[in-house]
Symmetry: C2
Subunit: 113 residues, 2 copies
DNA sequence: CTGATATATTCGCATATGCGAATATATCTT
DNA sequence: AAGATATATTCGCATATGCGAATATATCAG
C-alpha cells in the first residue's frame, strides 16, 4: 500500500514551499542571488547567529535549493535554481498587490468617517 | 523605533510563502485555478474535514490569496491572483529538476556498486 | 601533532501549526 | 419563529519549527 505518488509529490512540493516560509531563508536566497557566499559572510550580512545560519542552510540544501562548494576551510553556497528567485519575485508581487488593495480600501473608509 | 519597514516586508513575504507550505492548501489553490468553488465542494473534492477546509481557507484569505463571494447560503472562493499558480508551477519545476538530479546520481552510484 | 578558524550538530525550551470534535453563526425556507 | 444547511470558530492535543548556547567536526598552518 504505497501512499499515492500524487500525495507524495504534493508533500514534496509543500516541502519546497515551506523552505521559503521564513524571512531569514528568503533573505539568504536573495543574497545568494547576488553571487555565492560562505557561511561567515552570510552570517555577518544577515546579522544571524552562526548556528542559525547553518541550520537554515541545511534546510535549503536538503530541499536542493542551494548547492555547496568547498574551498579550503570555507564552504561556498550558491543558488541551485534561479527559478526560486522568480517564484519569490512573483509572490512579492502578489503581496504588493494585496497591500495596495487594502490601502485603497482603508483610504476609502477613512474618507467616509 | 518602528521595526524597519524592510524587515516587516520580509515577514509579510514569508507569510505569503508559508501559506503555500501545506499540501492541502496547495491542492486548494490548484482546485480554485480550475474555477470558483464553495467550501462543501472543496471539502469533498479534496477529502478534507469541513473544519480543516475552513481553517485552510481562512489562512489563504488572511494573506489575500483567495477571495470570497457569497451566494445565498454558499460562499464561493476564487483565486485572488493567478501569479500564485505561476509561482507554484515554477517551484514544482524546481522540485522536478532536483529529483531528476538525484535520480541520475542514484543511477550512477548503483552502476558502480 | 597542535592550535586556530570555519562549519555543522545537538540540546532544551518556547512558540507555531495542523487536526478532529464540538459548538457557534449565518442564511434560507416554511 | 423553527428547522435545515453552509460555513466559521473554539478547544485540546500532538507534532513541527526556530532559537541560542554548547559542543562536535573538518581543514589548514606551523
Amino acid at each position: 500500500m504505497e501512499p499515492s505518488l500524487e500525495a507524495e509529490i504534493g508533500r514534496l512540493h509543500a516541502a519546497v514551499c515551506s523552505a521559503l516560509s521564513d524571512p531569514k531563508r528568503i533573505a539568504i536566497l536573495y543574497a545568494l542571488h547576488e553571487g555565492p557566499k560562505n557561511v561567515t559572510e552570510l552570517t555577518e550580512l544577515l546579522e544571524l547567529n552562526q548556528a542559525t545560519t547553518s541550520r537554515h542552510l541545511k534546510i535549503l540544501r536538503d530541499r536542493s535549493l542551494v548547492e555547496t562548494q568547498r574551498d579550503g576551510v570555507h564552504i561556498y553556497y550558491s543558488l541551485a535554481d534561479e527559478r526560486v528567485i522568480e517564484a519569490l519575485d512573483l509572490l512579492r508581487g502578489v503581496l504588493a498587490s494585496a497591500l495596495e488593495r487594502r490601502k485603497t480600501l482603508a483610504e476609502v473608509m477613512t474618507v467616509r468617517t
